[in-house]
């Protein structure tokens, strides 16, 4: 364990401090944000303006607005002026409605060089707000590792240095929780944001947000995983952010109408209690409940997204993972979440790495982690997945990117693009669990081939082409990234809408913007281009809304109310949409309806698109997808689903496949699928109010009320 709590405490040296009177929360807002500059150790409050609340709402909206004002078009992720902004949102921190404790983190990403947002559980965002701050901006770069401590109880902020090794996030979280808590009882009032050595050594660093688990008597870690936010954190020489707030109650958010919130929350909690066991079993298995159905529907990524299922997937099925979770009591990342999808493996004895032999708590594995580190690498060993999950979290590297990177490296290895000499002896073929684990240690510790893998798929492609003369076109086809971000773990080949849901995102291919696979492919609810375009307008907007509010998306459609049987548009889950409208109004005292809800998101979504544009991205070329995400790249892939593809050639393309070579069939299929994807882009852009090059029109921006001079200027220069 290294240093003791007493030694750590004795080593503290305050570099800057700031006393304040925590602002009263009124209708979900403190009305203040906290600005910290690590270069000159500035700590100062800012006012949240009415315009910010009206247009940007909170959460990701506040993050984007502050970041926009902090950076220039030329700013790079590693420049001191880049910021990390953390904000929950007006609904964040209520205890009565499941899934209301999220934080949104926004920064310029080292992977995409553009705007990144990532949402995360844990207690930091709500405690930050109740300590008086709707948002936290961290700018600048410290000249040594520092810890920022926000004491909401005393109204004091300090920037401190201490003898803390920031290399392992699970230890950092434990040590800082122990040190900053004033008693055992006080530990639940502490939340830590930290990362690990992988964030120093890769571009896929994540942030862990902690909450103290009273029953396990240890901090648990939830991840803001995507886009290298942890890498920016360490670039700033931040070792940790700590918040302390001890007066949490059902009224901490001081809503306008607590009764409606309670009524709506109790309704949902009862619904979950009644139906969860027969629906998605979120309380028993969490998101890992998807493992079995994804494999059954040929949607589970296998071997770098070549295939959608595997006969060995049964070894990492939903029920196998469930059997690994040791405490099946409801377990939420924010208090009051009756859906309780958090899961943990207790007393897991590590077999590898610097903590070999330690018995640890592993949070997860979530579906994305199990699919990414497991099936997508051709590995069907649940214990490998759990061990890899632990090390990714404590090194502070994103499990989704790690999975997609490893899978890409494995396919390159199997195709001779790289070899043992290049990998430093790692036999990176599909299914090589030991090599995959060693690669994680190398990424975490900045050693060997891990230094190349840690750059992400986009840079690996360029590196392999430049250094080893690899076939560029092939790597572009199989490298599963878009905008520089690695794909999350769903097989999108048979769902055109999902292909758009991934590649037409603002930040890169993450399913939190649009997850349309089931709706499109399984339930056949989006048969026409128009319907797909409508879905690719509505759902990204609807899902953006969660990130403005401090909400989790899962209680929207991972529990289905009885009323859905008779709903006109069951895919929207109308009763739950109305719940959200009701609780927003009950918190803020405003009067929105479900149409205004979408407008709220549309403002922020289009603002983010323009932000991308301002940084040199955000046009059609950046919404292109690697062909692996659209269809079969190789003859092997085609042959593996030959009947399906032959039928499609015959029925959809109008070509008789008989007598054609597989290579020809792959080519014809590709022409067809790529043209369909281009058609989809056309209709989606039109529906979103954008030009055919993907730029929001001036008229649309004016209509949305985000026609700020700099926004208009940015767009005018690109039109």
């Amino acid at each position: 364990m290294g240093i003791t709590t007493e030694e750590l405490r004795a080593s503290r040296k305050v570099l800057a401090e700031f006393d304040y009177e925590p602002a009263e929360i009124e209708k979900g807002y403190s009305g203040k944000s906290l600005y910290i500059n690590l270069t000159d150790l500035t700590i100062k409050p800012k006012d949240i303006t009415e315009q910010m609340k009206e247009i940007f709402i909170g959460g990701k909206g506040f993050g984007l607005w502050y970041l926009w004002n902090a950076v220039k078009p030329s700013t790079k992720w590693s420049d001191p002026e880049n910021e990390i902004v953390i904000s929950s949102g007006p609904i964040g921190g209520i205890t009565q409605y499941p899934g209301s404790g999220k934080s949104l983190v926004v920064t310029l990403s080292p992977l995409t060089n553009s705007v990144m947002d990532s949402n995360v559980g844990g207690y930091f965002g709500p405690y930050l707000k109740f300590s008086g701050w709707d948002a936290l901006e961290v700018q600048g770069k410290a000249d040594q590792d520092v810890v920022v401590f926000i004491d909401g109880d005393r109204g004091k902020i300090t920037i401190e240095k201490m003898e803390l090794d920031p290399g392992a996030s699970h230890l950092v979280s434990e040590q800082l929780t122990d040190m900053f808590a004033e008693s055992e009882k006080d530990k639940k009032n502490i939340s830590i944001v930290s990362t690990g050595s992988g964030a120093d050594n890769t571009l896929i660093g994540l942030l862990n947000f902690s909450f103290y688990d009273l029953r396990r008597k240890a901090p648990r870690l939830k991840q803001a995983g995507r886009g290298g936010i942890g890498t920016v954190f360490r670039e700033k020489n931040l070792a940790a952010l700590v918040v302390r707030y001890s007066s949490l109650s059902g009224r901490s958010n001081n809503p306008a109408d607590p009764s409606t919130i309670a009524k709506t929350g109790v309704k949902l909690a009862r619904e979950i209690n009644k139906f969860d066991d027969e629906q998605f079993r979120m309380r028993q298995i969490g998101t890992a409940n998807l493992m079995t159905p994804m494999n059954d529907y040929d949607l589970l990524p296998v071997n770098n997204f070549k295939f959608g299922s595997h006969e060995d997937a049964v070894k990492i099925s939903s029920d196998v993972l469930r059997s690994k979770f040791t405490q099946n009591m409801p377990d939420g990342c924010w208090v009051g979440c009756a859906l309780s999808c958090c899961k943990a493996v207790d007393n897991f004895e590590l077999k590898t790495g610097p903590f070999k032999g330690d018995k640890v708590i592993v949070d997860g594995p979530e579906y994305e982690t199990a699919a990414g580190l497991g099936s997508n690498c051709g590995i069907f060993d649940p214990d490998h997945i759990i061990e890899a999950n632990f090390y990714c979290d404590t090194y502070g590297i994103d499990t989704i990117s790690t999975g997609t990177i490893t899978a890409f490296a494995m396919e390159c290895y199997e195709n001779g693009v790289i070899n043992k000499e290049i990998t430093g002896g790692l036999e990176l073929s599909f299914g090589s669990a030991d090599a995959a684990m060693e690669l994680i240690h190398q990424m975490g510790q900045g050693r060997g081939f891990g230094k190349i893998a840690g750059l992400g798929v986009r840079r690996m492609k360029h590196f392999f082409v430049d250094e080893y003369g690899a076939d560029e076109a092939f790597l572009e086809d199989i490298g599963m990234e878009n905008k520089g971000l690695e794909y999350s773990q769903y097989q999108a080949k048979e769902s055109l809408a999902q292909q758009g849901g991934y590649a037409m995102t603002n930040k890169g291919p993450q399913h939190d913007e649009a997850w349309l696979i089931f709706m499109d492919m399984v339930n056949k609810q989006l048969p026409t281009f128009e319907k797909k375009a409508e879905a690719l307008h509505y759902f990204p907007m609807f899902r953006t809304w969660f990130g403005l509010m401090g909400l989790c998306k899962l209680p929207w459609n991972d529990i289905i109310p009885e009323s859905n049987k008779d709903a006109d548009r069951p895919e929207l889950i109308p009763e739950h949409v109305q719940n959200y409208v009701d609780i927003f109004n009950a918190v803020t005292g405003k009067q929105i309806d479900k149409d205004e809800m979408i407008r709220q998101s549309e403002r922020v979504y289009n603002f983010q698109r323009v932000f991308n544009l301002r940084l040199g991205f955000g046009t059609r070329e950046h919404d292109a997808a690697p062909y692996r995400a659209l269809g079969p790249v190789t003859e092997e892939e085609y042959e593996s689903r030959a009947e399906r593809y032959d039928n499609q050639l015959r029925d959809d393309v109008g070509i008789n496949p008989e007598g054609m070579s597989t290579a020809d069939k792959v080519k014809k299929m590709r022409e067809y699928r790529e043209s369909r994807y281009e058609q989809l882009i056309d209709v989606v852009y039109k529906r979103r109010g954008w030009t055919t090059n993907g730029i929001p029109t001036i008229g649309h921006l004016c209509e949305l009320g985000i026609d700020f001079p700099e926004v208009i200027e940015t767009v005018k220069n690109k039109l």
Partner: protein, 133 residues
């Protein structure tokens, strides 16, 4: 042995004495919706339905802040000081006897104090000892 409020619904006359006693004692007002024992008019067989906690304790495990505990006597009680008002306990209660009220931040429940049983004119409710699990 744990004592719980038991009921003989056939004997209930819907007089409301139990509800008045409970809400008046704990919340200083006569409001049946603030009573931890609540009587509904008729069930399928025509008898009133008396809803009161059987101290099963399902709520204990779902409390995120461990505000709900079983006392040495076996009664399930909520610490208002520790409670953060999330109503998870209301959601999982199998007998719908973890109550909430729009005026109140925290839920409330029967703690087997027996006051209501002493005011019942027909012995439709009474204290009974049961084995604890």
């Amino acid at each position: 042995m744990l004592k719980i409020v038991e009921k003989n619904e056939k004997e209930c006359t819907l007089c409301g004495a139990c509800e008045t006693t409970c809400s008046t004692f704990y919340f200083k007002e006569d409001d049946r919706l603030k009573s931890s024992i609540q009587v509904l008019e008729a069930s399928e067989n025509g008898d009133p339905v008396i809803n009161v906690c059987n101290q099963c304790g399902n709520c204990i495990d779902v409390c995120p802040v461990e505000a709900i505990k079983r006392t040495g006597k076996g009664t399930v009680v909520i610490s208002k000081k520790a409670c953060v008002g999330c109503f998870n306990c209301v959601g999982v209660c199998p007998t719908d006897t973890m109550y909430w009220h729009e005026d109140l931040t925290e839920p409330f429940k029967c703690i087997s104090c027996s006051r209501c049983t002493k005011e019942c004119p027909t012995e439709a409710i009474f204290m009974e000892e049961v084995a604890t699990n």
